[in-house]
Each structure stands twice: as C-alpha cells, then as structure tokens.
Amino acid sequence: MLDQTYSITRHVCPRNCYSSCSMLGYTKNRRLHKVTGDPKHGYTKGLLCAKGYNYINNVYHPDRVKYPMRQYPRGSGQWQRISWSEAIDIIAEKIIELYHRYDSHLSLGLNKYSGNMGVLHHAMEGFFNGLGRTSRAVGNPCWAPGMDAIYYDYGEHQTSDMEDILHAETIILWGINPVWTSIHAMNYIYEAQKQGAKVITIDPVYTETAKKSDTFIQIKPGSDGALALAVAKYILEHNLYDAEFLEAHTNGWDELQEYIQPLSMEEALQQCGQTIEAIQFLAERLGRSKPVYIWLGFGMQRHQNGGQNIRAVNALAAITGNIGHKGSGVQFGQRTTWKFTYNILNYLPTDKKKANGVRPLDFNNFANDLQKQQDPPVKFLWITCRNLLTQSANIQQLKKALQSLELIVTVEHFLTETAQYSDIVLPATTQFEEWDLVASYWHHWISINQPAIPPYYESKSELEIARMLSKRLNEYEEDFSAFPSDLTDEEFIEQEFTDEFYQSLQIECWRELLKGPRRVNVPKTAWEALEFKTPSGKIELFSQQAREIQLSPFGMALLDNRRSENYPFTLLLNHEPFRINSQFQNLPSYKKINKEPCIYIHPSLAKEKGIRASSLIRVFNKNGEIVIRARYSEDVNHHTLVIHPNHPLINKLLTFTPADMGEFVTGGKGNALNDLQVNIAKL
C-alpha cells in the first residue's frame, strides 16, 4: 500500500557556500518528495536559496551516474558497466602493484576540494592517510590569501553572529554580493537598514546588492588596498582615529603612521579611481558613525596583492576602533566552530616502516607539480568533490600531465568533464542518501545530515567506498591499510565529538542534532574579549611574522603599476545565483536562465571597439583566446569586464598567477584569478 504520511529527515547543504543551510527532507514511499529549509536553524531560519529548493531535480536527475563505469581508452566515451567488486579489485590491484613497483605510496595522488564540505567526506583523505605517505593536492583556490591576512592581523579566524549587524550604524559590504551569493544575510542587512544603519557597497561592479545599498563606491578591481590607504591617510590627517583603541589593542600604529604619511594621496586616489569626497565620506563613517560592520567578500583577495587588500581593511577597522565591539568587526570567514576531532583522518599505519604524511602537489599549480614530482611520479589519481578539468588553470598542461597517469578514478554524481577524462567513475550518493556533519565557515551552527532515501541505483558514500577499498587491501595483506572497514557511519560520527564539543553545543550526544542544528558556543561578537592570538597579543598593524616571509609588515600598500598595454582590461569572474562554479549546471530550468556564456561589457567600451550588442567577440590574452557573446551592461566600468564562471570556457585564459599569501594557513598561495588581464576585439 502507498504510505500516506511523510517521514521528515534532517539534511545539510554541503556545498561551498556561506550558509550551510540545514534542510528538511520529506519522504514518502522511499521517495524524496520535497526539500525545505529547517526553521530550527538559527541563521538560515527555514529559508533556502534557489539551488537548495531545486535539490529534488538534482537528486532525481536522469543523468546521475548509476553504476561504477569503466572507460577504455580514457576519454573515448566507450563506457562499460562494472560491478562494485570489479571496480574495487581494479583499484586495489593498482595500489598494490604501484606499491611494489616504487616501494612507497607516493605514486598515489589525491585531488579533493570543496564539492562536499561534510566531515565524513574526509573519508578518502583518511583512507590515503591510512596507507602511509601519499601525494596530495594541497592549497586552496579560494580564500587562501585572505585567511593568511586574517591570521597575521588577528591570529585566528573569527566571525560575529549575523545578528550582531543589528547593532551597526554603518555597514560596509566590501566586494561581497550577498543578494546573489549569500541570500540569508539579506534579511539581517535589511533589518539593520530599517533600524537606521547605512549600507555602503564597495565593488568594481554595480551589483544587485549595491543597488539595494544607500551608497555605492565603484572601485577599480584589485585597488581595495589603495582605497583603504587613502581612507587611512585621511583619517590620520583629520584625527578620526581611535587613539585609545590603538594604544590598548594594536601593535605597530606608530610605524604604520610613519609609513602612511609620505605616501601620495593623489596616487592612491588615482589607483582606486575615487575622489577625495568619497574618501572623506568613508573616513567619516568609519570614524564617526560607529559601530562599523565590514564584510569582506572572497573576490578582492584573488589578486596578486589579495592578502594585502584584506590586511589593509583590517587595519582600517583597527585604526577606527571598529573591532571587538557589538556591531563592528571585519568579517571574512571563521574556523572556530570546526571543533570536530577529525579522527576520520587519523587512522595511520601502525607499521613503523611506513612513512606518514603527504607529498604536497600545489593545488593551484597542480599540472606543473604533477610533472615536476618524478621520484616517483604520480601514476594513480583519485579525484573527489572536485571538477578538476573545469575549475583549474592551465588546462592544456593539466590534460598533458594526466596522460602519464595509469589510473584515474573519479567519484561523482554526474559525468563532469573530469569524469569524462577518467578510467573509472564511481557513483556517489547525495546528502539525501548518506550520513554527514557540516559546519559553516560563516555562521556558528552545526548540522547533521541523515539519509532519507536509499542510494540512487548503485551509488555509495565516499566513506563506504573507503571502507570497501581498505577491506579489499587487507584481504591481500594484513594491515596494508589502516583505515577501519568495520566502523559504521554512525560510529564515525560519534568519534568526531569530544565532551568539550558537546558542552559547547549544549548536548550530550550527537543524536540530539537530529532534533535540530546547534549553535557552537563561541562569542557572538568576534574578538569581543579583545584578546588576539598574535605574537604581540594585539591586532598587528605591523606584522613581524609577515616580514619574516618577505612580505610587507604593513597591510597597506599602493599598487605596482602592472596594467599591460596589450591586455588593458580586467576580466572579473563573479559568481551568479544559480550555480556554484560547475555545480547545478545541468538542471534544465537553470539552463533556460542563461542559455549561453556571455561577457558583460560597458557600452562605451563596446562603442570604442565597434562591438554590437549581443554579438560574438574575441577575448584574448597571452594564454589563449575565447569567443563569447557580448552583453552591454552599465553595471561595469569602462575597463572592467565580467564573466560568470559557470562554464569551462574561461579556463583557456587562465594560468596560475600566485597571490601574495595563502601558504601559512592553507599550504599554498592563492590564485590571483581576478588579476586576469585581457583584450577584446569584435569578430
């Protein structure tokens, strides 16, 4: 008989996004009927974004990978269905063979990123750790420079609860477009606005958020540091700084003053494209309309001076005493609520002959490192939570480097460009078919994810795959793999908690999370104790740590003039609301929204170049050339172009351009993706 009642299960969106929404799944007759937001989530409060509400079409997409499939030859499109035991045998045999060939596991490579941010999705890293020393993509293409900058200035990564914004007099949304990329934040921003706060958006693009703000300051891409410097100089010259705060809570103010004084205001204004009136306005808001809540997006640090940009704004907030008080602070991203034990990563080989750890392959320069590391070379690559071939620079070099591999395995929901270039693709479960735990890098809530429906066709969770592989390897040789094959999903979850973490969540058992997400008991206002884990214990306007690795000790600097004459336009890769990079691209209704890739161009530039609206144009730089449809937009300025990076086309123009920071926190420098200089021509 058909069941007439729903069972309701808790889920959490595991995508790389600010909100990490808790969701409710309504299941009837083993079929997920609908997905809603979870009203018990204190930040998202029962709302989802357009992507979240569309999960049904993702989970039940007819094109989901259904079975383990093998392709021979690689890239031929000649796929054969294989059983799980065949797949596991092929993979295990390769691992064993390579171990005997090279007498180590360094020829095994893992490239994983943020396709799924769940704790149990660390299973493959855990599995690799359990073999011994292996090769791994290390680094981060997204927040690396900013995370280092925050670290140098504050010593750790904190954010305030979003409710804190209700205490703000001034809100500066600096390089962030929450209307498109963090919709839940808008309710808080609107509420603050209603209570009288003024919202200022600083962005190279007149975004949807800018349109809803009280003030919009359109800066030149990458010139955030120059703008901050100009404002700091004005603050200094007009005594708008908070001397008491500076004395008590910062280190290096005297040095910073000395450093700023001789710098040219005119040059700073010219670099960021502002008038002195705009600078005066910002300086007075920062100095006189406090508290000032500043939210820094992830785009402004994707520059060669990206870390410096973030440090410059940090300094600006510190100079004006806008740190640690209710309604103030520089919000970027946090890690203080990620209190899991990560036991899943720590099943290391007991055999002392086996080395532990990883041989790093630079995440952002992966192709190069694959070719460089030859002792021994990587011969086996496991790709998971990652669409390597659409989300990397140097694609041609990468494809060439991948040719020398003997086995590429990709775990996926769909046949991505990366899976197309694999030997084996394994079908992965979605968050409606597995257990997991997810924390946010923005808010402070922890959510659990439980299965609602059976795995689609033969898909399996990464954890299950890791267990199967480990079991198979240990059948071959006892203790070959230390990753446990006998622990259940729930046992793995249990191991992720400590008593301290439970106390912080005010629960006694992780199962209580099934009743609703819990807030981690961290301060509601970041740095409210005004204690900093920096060497000086204060906010470091002068950072000896930065200086020691050949960075400027100051966050503030004018730009080097590096605009190329051949490629005079900056192409920004801003996110749009319906996709997260290559995720959600295959939903039919979304395809109707943006039928083809396009580039946004100011009509004045188009006129200068003789480009008609909606015509195809050439976009080129020293790395390559693409042909793309031009759309007029007055939201960009004359020298700025925008492409939403929801298609692989853009990769032809991208290479690895190291940002200034990133190594300290994430293990590798960020990629200065927004320093993409191009030229255009009509076809």
Partner: protein, 207 residues
C-alpha cells in the same frame, strides 16, 4: 496503416517481443556471445507480424548485416543511449519525457508505481531506482499479458504509459544511435509499437 494487414500479430509473438525487449533493456543481450546473434535473428525472422511493416523489415535487415565492429561497440552505444554515465541520449525513463524538468521519481513515476501496486507488485529496491524505467514497464506488461482478465488493466497501462512516451524515446534512439544493434532494436521497437497501437485501436483481445 491498413488494420487487417498488421493485426495478425498473435499472442505468442507479442509475448516473445515483450520478453525480447525486456532482456534488451535489462542489458542481458550485452553478454550475448557473437554466435548467438544468428540464432536470435532466426527467431526474429520467424515473427511474421514483424515482417508486415517497414520498421520490422528494416530491423531484421540491420541484424542480417551485423559487422564484428557493431558487436564490439554495442555495449558502448547501449550505455550512451540508456545507461550513462553521460547525459542519457535516449533516456529509458518515462518521466524524462513526461515531467516538466525531465526529473525522475516525480508524480509521473508514482502513477506508474500505483499500477504496479494495484497488481500487488513492487519494484525491487524501490526508491533506489525509478519505477518507470522501460525495463519495469515491460516486465509489468508481461505479467499482465498472460491472463485474459487483465485485458482492461493492460490496455489502460499501455495507453496511459508506455505508448505515451515510447515514440519520443524511439525518435531519440534513431537520432543518436551509432550502432547497428541499437538502431535495429530501435526499428524493432517502432515496428512493434505500431502493431500494439493498431491492436488497441482495433479493440482486439490484448491479453
């Protein structure tokens, strides 16, 4: 189409054809040794009703001229069309054609499930795979085909489900097939469905 010409399909032939399609869509024929294809062809050639329309004749013609290469690439093409992991070029799910978004396991799938339930049947691993995969619809038809008292249910199911989408399915096969066998089975399906439709229109006994 002239009714009298094609309405000479007998129950035995129908049973054979539905069974054949079930094996085909279940993937059983992927493992068929090369030598067995000749035998299958002989069996098909004995299906007189099939020979009564162009599609059946074209299908048999394709299979008569099977090359080794076609046998070698059959599995790859079958997967391209019906299994994946690529975007399915001729989706085997009814909902791909009937649902607004092409999403499976929606109201369209549930309607099919209700038919199965009505007959006391349930797809194994229900929930893990869509009930409206052509393989299950064929299996259900085969279940009904044997008994006369299921005539009404069968007619309803054919009219409301299989016959509603199978033409679109077949059109995609014709458009995307790159292999003699998948094309031949596309033709076979088209020819056979024509016979089924005329049978319904003629209101002859379905079971």
């Amino acid at each position: 189409m002239i009714y009298t010409e094609i309405n000479n399909i007998n129950q035995e032939e129908r049973l054979f054809m539905y069974q054949l399609f079930l094996h085909y869509y279940r993937g059983d024929l992927l493992k068929l040794p090369s030598a067995e294809w000749g035998k299958l062809l002989e069996m098909l050639e004995r299906q007189h009703s099939l020979q009564s329309n162009d599609w059946g004749r074209k299908a048999i013609q394709q299979l008569q001229n099977l090359t080794d290469q076609a046998l070698e690439t059959f599995e790859f093409d079958f997967n391209r069309l019906f299994v994946g992991p690529n975007k399915l070029l001729a989706s085997p799910f009814e909902s791909s054609y009937q649902n607004f978004e092409g999403t499976v396991m929606q109201a369209e799938t549930l309607k099919v499930r209700r038919f199965y339930y009505y007959e006391g049947l349930q797809v194994a691993n229900e929930g893990g795979l869509p009930d409206d995969h052509i393989q299950f619809e064929l299996e259900f038809i085969l279940h009904l085909l044997g008994s006369e008292d299921k005539n009404k249910v069968l007619q309803l199911f054919l009219e409301k489900h299989l016959l509603k989408w199978v033409d679109q399915h077949w059109a995609r096969i014709e458009e995307h097939s790159q292999n003699q066998i998948t094309l031949a089975f596309g033709y076979l399906l088209k020819g056979f469905i024509l016979l089924e439709k005329s049978l319904i229109e003629g209101e002859g006994p379905l079971c």
